[in-house]
């Protein structure tokens, strides 16, 4: 694979550290006036999400990770995983829930996801940042409070637990921020 130098490090670039794939989170330049410059880099493990910090001499190089992103559409889920179709090649692939992890709660048929491959194997499913979905279960609203500041628990059709304002009812369609799992608005 190609290499990148510390001064090309940007958030989002994927590199190999000690044989593991990491995404660069931040890159801080530290330099004594006359001395050796360093780059202190925060990296997040592509699969485990663990964040580590490494210090490099400026100009050091790292291998780029063999990471490929593909747009896929969810076909269906079964007991052990989900089947997706590649938007470009129409190939079907099955990804186990072990790999999907917490993102399982955002799986809805016909929605387009980003599937990340590391060295040819799927490692992560990223849902769209904002998704629309129906509320399947929530306690009836109490009249009077329409400020939206008071929240109550609710479950969506994908199985996600999203706290919603009191005025949201079962069957309503809402917009959710999948990064935080927070209610955004009623649709």
């Amino acid at each position: 694979m190609a290499q990148v130098s510390t001064n090309e490090f940007r958030a989002g670039i994927k590199v190999e550290v000690e044989g593991q794939p990491y995404t660069i989170v931040s890159n801080e330049f530290v330099k004594p006036g006359k001395g050796q410059p360093f780059n202190r880099v925060k990296l997040k493990h592509l699969m485990t999400g663990r964040v580590i910090e490494r210090t490099f001499k400026s100009g050091d190089r790292l291998e780029l990770s063999d990471v490929v992103e593909t747009k896929v559409r969810l076909l269906y889920t079964d007991q052990d995983g989900a089947s997706f179709m590649d938007d470009n090649t129409f190939d079907q692939l099955h990804v186990s829930f072990d790999i999907i992890g917490d993102q399982k709660q955002w799986l809805l048929e016909e929605v387009s996801y980003t599937l990340i491959f590391y060295k040819g194997a799927p490692v992560e499913v990223i849902p769209p940042t904002f998704m629309e979905m129906n509320i399947t279960e929530t306690a009836p609203g109490v009249r009077g409070d329409t400020s939206g500041r008071v929240l109550k628990p609710a479950t969506t059709e994908s199985g996600a637990k999203v706290p919603v304002p009191i005025f949201v009812e079962e069957g309503d369609r809402i917009k959710v921020d999948t990064r935080t799992g927070e209610y955004v608005s009623r649709v």
């Binding site: 330099k31 004594p32 006359k34 050796q36 410059p37 210090t55």
Partner: protein, 296 residues
């Protein structure tokens, strides 16, 4: 504040000079990258990283106290404390001791930071106090081991100097409080300062001043020996070659001038923008620049 700084020097009888920013040769430092300017006719010019060489040339023909408030350029330096173009206050005092210049530098800093007292410490004592290691009698292995016990990152491939810079930047500076002047550096970090013997060790006659761990000024008892200067240039050139860095032409006219004779003097450079940052309690150098590199 620019006017305040000028007044500071006028009061002390230090003359302002304005030497060229663009030169035919480049200042040579292992870790400072010079910006090259390519002319249409094929010539190459270099933007200075400090007005040092030009001022020193002036001093060889006119040995009086001089200062320059100058924009300087350093490639690749972008961060909360760095902008590739910044303003430097650089001045030279004839016959001053390094200590006297250090005290004057603290007075200049006090224009920006009122009522701060400066604490002085040698580089050796600083390391002994904070890290528990004698920087003049250590090895890369010992420093690597120490880093491990302190849970600091690093690389086993680094040499002693890289480790010393690393400890300074990531371990000592974050712990520094108030105004601290560090002096008597290892000779490997001498740059253009005089080196003297202190017991068994070669010590570079220079100081650095920090406020809350932020480097503000860098002062030198200036090297005047042109042969020694040539050796340092050659050493630096070799180091740069090893690091695969662009090779820069040696300033022969500067060396010639040193041969004629640079008077015994001390010089210091202070970062104007950083001083302004501290005065205004700004979090980033961007906040005090009219337009930073990212704004352009």
């Amino acid at each position: 504040m620019l006017a305040c700084v000028r007044q500071f020097f006028t009061k002390r009888g230090v003359l302002e000079v304005d030497t060229p920013l663009l030169s035919k040769t480049a200042p040579i430092d292992t870790h400072i990258e010079v910006m090259a300017v390519h002319f249409a006719d094929g010539q190459t010019g270099y933007l200075h990283t400090s007005p040092e060489y030009a001022i020193k040339r002036l001093l060889t023909v006119c040995p009086i106290d001089l200062y320059q408030l100058s924009h300087v350029f350093r490639e690749g330096e972008v961060g909360p404390l760095h902008n590739p173009e910044f303003t430097m206050i650089e001045w030279y005092r004839m016959g001053f001791s390094l200590k006297k210049l250090l005290h004057e530098t603290v007075e200049l800093i006090q224009l920006f930071l009122e009522n701060v007292e400066c604490q002085e410490i040698t580089y050796r004592d600083l390391f002994l106090t904070y890290v528990g290691i004698d920087p003049f009698a250590t090895s890369a292995e010992e420093l690597h081991k120490k880093a491990k016990t302190l849970k600091l990152e690093g690389s086993p491939d680094w040499d002693v100097d890289t480790w010393l810079y690393f400890f300074m930047s990531f371990f000592i500076e974050p712990k520094m409080e108030g105004l601290i002047a560090v002096h008597s550096f290892p000779s490997t970090q001498a740059a253009l300062s005089r080196v003297r013997k202190e017991g068994p060790y070669a010590v570079a006659d220079r100081f650095e001043i920090f406020y809350s761990g932020i480097e503000l000024a860098n002062g030198f008892h200036e090297l005047t020996d042109s042969e020694e200067q040539r050796c340092r240039f050659e050493e630096t050139k070799a180091k740069r070659e090893k690091l695969n860095k662009p090779l820069l032409p040696i300033d022969e006219k500067f060396l010639q001038a040193l041969k004629i004779g640079l008077p015994d003097c001390c010089g210091v450079a202070a970062g104007f923008d950083r001083l302004l940052m501290l005065k205004e309690k700004a979090g980033s150098i961007k906040d005090v620049l009219p337009l930073s590199w990212t704004d352009l």
